[in-house]
């Protein structure tokens, strides 16, 4: 008899606990803050500056979502995650979304039960070598010592690349970008490999950047994007379309400079009107108000502005748009229509 009482009590505890689960959007609104998972520090994508403010391209996405949902781009709690902890943090509900240059792969999407809500940066894994090594191609790297940043898809791509080209190498796994850089500069490895954007960012901080070259080979596809938990489609839609709004804004010429003017009254372009909420009821469909996209864009500018401000050619990182140009300019950045 005693046993059944205990089991009963346990069941009640379990039920009470499960009743507490609600939609992520309601949670975020009730909390008044968006918990956004970011990296522990990768300049240009997400890193706290000298004043402790998080800055970067991924951070911009978090802020846009917070602005769309909560009306305040500052209402974000940035949760630093490592490669190891990011998925658990998301799965367990510690964070509402993950914007940590995470590669969209089949197994993460399907097996780990996450939902990628778009791609904010098309990346690929590259190699950097000192110029005086005299290496012109990654295929010349037979027997080289390669520094890898662990916790990413990098080590898998590397193994695949060297295996398919049938050349040997010596991997040196390193936890943080800063330490990998130190090892590379000290000469403990001949090659440093990570995403090409990361390589550019790293090279920019060297004492003498011109002494290092990034090899032409890009050995993998790394579509990076924000992701949310499987199963909460409403919340997934909000994150997806907040990102799309930034992309659409650039395509339609809506910038943080002219957005006030464009949203004051309906313009001649119906898609701009729908995006900014002066026409139609897209915001309502998402469960937000009409000005959601306007706020998202005002948070840090449109996609192009975010790019230029954080990782563009005028920043120390100095990345060209390349694949990340709008589809009209020969890039891959493309949003489904707002209608």
């Amino acid at each position: 008899m005693k046993k059944s009482v205990i089991l009963g009590a346990l069941t009640v505890a379990g039920l009470a606990a499960s009743a507490a689960v609600a939609g992520t959007m309601d949670d975020v609104k009730a909390r008044g803050k968006l918990n956004c998972g970011v990296t522990t520090g990768l300049v240009g994508f997400a890193a706290p500056d000298a004043n402790g403010e998080w800055q970067g391209f991924d951070v911009g996405v978090c802020r846009a979502v917070a602005a769309a949902v909560l009306g305040d781009p500052k209402a974000v709690e940035f949760v630093p995650t490592t490669g190891k902890t990011r998925f658990t943090a998301l799965a367990s509900g510690e964070i509402d979304m993950l914007a940590r240059n995470t590669t969209w792969t089949f197994s993460r999407d399907v097996d780990l039960k996450f939902e990628f809500t778009g791609i904010n940066y098309y990346d690929g894994q590259g190699f950097m070598v000192p110029k005086d090594l005299g290496v012109g191609s990654a295929k010349d790297l037979d027997g080289a010592t390669v520094c890898i940043q662990t916790g990413t898809t990098t080590e898998l791509n590397l193994a695949d690349f060297f295996r398919s080209n049938n050349i040997s190498y010596e991997p040196v796994p390193i936890e943080t970008n800063a330490e990998a850089q130190q090892q590379y500069l000290a000469g403990a490895c001949d090659v440093y490999t990570t995403d090409a954007s990361g390589l550019a960012a790293t090279r920019a901080t060297f004492e003498d950047p011109s002494a290092h070259v990034v090899l032409p080979e890009i050995v993998s596809k790394e579509p990076l994007g924000p992701l949310v938990r499987h199963g909460d489609n409403d919340w997934g839609d909000v994150v997806r379309w907040s990102l799309n709004a930034l992309i659409a804004a650039e395509e339609l010429g809506v910038t943080s400079a002219n957005i006030a003017e464009l949203s004051a009254a309906p313009t001649n372009n119906p898609e701009v009107n729908r995006l900014l909420g002066t026409e139609g009821n897209l915001g309502e469909m998402l469960g937000l108000d009409a000005e959601w996209a306007k706020r998202a864009i005002m948070a840090g500018g449109n996609y192009g502005e975010l790019f230029e401000k954080n990782i563009g050619e005028n920043t120390p990182i100095g990345l060209a748009r390349g694949l990340n140009a709008q589809w009209k300019n020969g890039g891959l950045i493309y949003t489904p229509p707002f209608r």
Binding site: A17, D27, T40, G41, A47, S92, Q181
Partner: protein
């Protein structure tokens, strides 16, 4: 004749001549302490060479260091090719190193004051000759410290304190009938007071309130100190209970304690931190928001309580059997004899061991940097080394971190050695 027979006799004593140069002063000291044999001389020379090469390598680097520069590039320009430290990173980022990057600057006085008070509060525990009245501050400190560091209304820690006081009064009332009843009654009373107090402090949330600072904003060396202090103080009572449980003659309780202690001591702290960071969330009710620092505190407390339990068990075992028997023969029950006879003595002889565990634990708090928390080491390895300005500054930062830890840990271990000498009763 007399001239011949009288030998020369000295009338006054000669002043003692100084000992040979080789038997006095610095020379003698050197002969005895440095060059007493061939092996010794070789050792001395080797040691001198080591000291010389370390100093000649590091001193110019330290003395020629740059203390004012906005970034590493600027530092390198000032140095113009010379090799010297760029300590500007310390002056530029000291607040991040000490307080983390999110703790509000205008509130830095709060943890500083809390730290000073901590020293005052701990002093009477460590030094028995200080006035006993200072122990009142020690008792109040957890609440003051909490209020200062986390902020919010003072009602919350006040209610916590009231809960403890009520619990103690109830315990004293009920203790006469049975110790267990006393503990139970005290627990129930405390829970009632805390629940009621929760409403009170919610209602009076503006009363004497400091700006509330969430715990994930803590960082830097402050985080190491908070983790170290909180976990050691929480693990003391748990450690005592575990040690008593392990010594008890109730088989089930003994087994539970042994398994817990051996399990915790058998795995590295880092795996427990992984559990806190990666796994623990799965074991909590869905939707619980339980921030990382709290989960880490739970895990580190479990870790250190197992070690402290072993130290205290050593103390319990070191007590002569007669003390236990004396308690029994006076007709004291288990709780009384433990509380009045055994534990005071056992704890006293375990203090040096406990202090050693505390030092080890304080050093181990740096491991939280591996699970993406920004303590001192995490701050260095994360935001500072990743920033464009200070990318590549290495020795200066880690030297600074080692120095901070060294000062505190060396101080504590000196105290522990002093205490050991105080406690040593055998005069060998």
């Amino acid at each position: 004749m007399s001239d011949q027979s009288i030998a020369f006799v000295r009338h006054e004593t000669l002043p003692p001549s100084p000992p040979p140069a080789s038997e006095t002063g610095i020379v003698k000291w050197m002969r005895e302490n440095l060059f007493s044999s061939v092996t010794n001389s070789i050792l001395t020379l080797a040691a001198l060479y080591t000291v010389y090469s370390i100093l000649s390598g590091s001193m110019p680097w330290i003395l020629g260091g740059i203390w004012q520069a906005p970034s590493l590039q600027a530092c390198r320009e000032i140095l113009a090719g010379d090799s010297a430290g760029c300590f500007a990173v310390l002056t530029e980022r000291w607040h991040q190193l000490i307080f983390g990057f999110k703790y509000p600057q205008e509130a830095y006085w709060r943890p500083t004051l809390a730290f000073v008070l901590l020293i005052v509060a701990v002093a009477p525990v460590l030094f028995a000759n200080l006035p006993r009245r200072m122990l009142i501050l020690t008792g109040l400190y957890p609440f003051i410290g909490f209020w200062l560091i986390w902020g919010g209304t003072i009602m919350a820690p006040l209610m916590g304190l009231v809960g403890f006081i009520v619990a103690y009064i109830v315990f004293q009332r009920l203790e006469r009938s049975s110790f267990a009843m006393g503990v139970l009654g005290g627990l129930v009373a405390a829970i009632i007071v805390w629940t009621l107090g929760g409403y009170v402090s919610d209602a009076m949330s503006g009363f004497l309130a400091l700006e509330q600072i969430p715990s994930r904003d803590m960082g830097g060396f402050m985080l190491n100190i908070i983790l170290g202090t909180v976990c050691v103080s929480l693990s003391l009572p748990i450690g005592i209970l575990l040690a008593l449980g392990r010594q008890s003659n109730m088989p089930i309780i003994k087994i539970i304690c042994v398994v817990f202690i051996e399990f915790i001591r058998g795995v590295p702290l880092i795996t427990l931190l992984f559990v806190a960071n990666v796994v623990l969330a799965y074991f909590l009710p869905p939707g619980t928001t339980f921030d990382l620092i709290l989960r880490v505190i739970i895990m580190i407390t479990m870790f250190s309580s197992a070690y402290i339990a072993e130290v205290i068990r050593g103390g319990l075992a070191a007590l002569p059997r007669g003390q236990y028997e004396a308690g029994d023969s006076l007709g004291l029950d288990y709780a009384q004899s433990m509380r009045l006879i055994i534990l005071p003595q056992a704890l006293k002889i375990s203090i040096p061991g406990i202090v050693n565990v505390a030092v080890g634990l304080f050093k181990d708090t740096t491991l939280v940097s591996v699970i993406s928390m920004f303590d001192l080491v995490g701050m260095i390895r994360g935001p500072i080394l990743a920033s464009t300005e200070w990318n590549g500054v290495y020795w200066e930062l880690f030297g600074f971190a080692s120095l901070l830890f060294f000062i505190i840990c060396y101080g504590i271990s000196q105290y522990s050695q002093w205490l050991e000498r105080q406690l040593a009763t055998d005069h060998r």
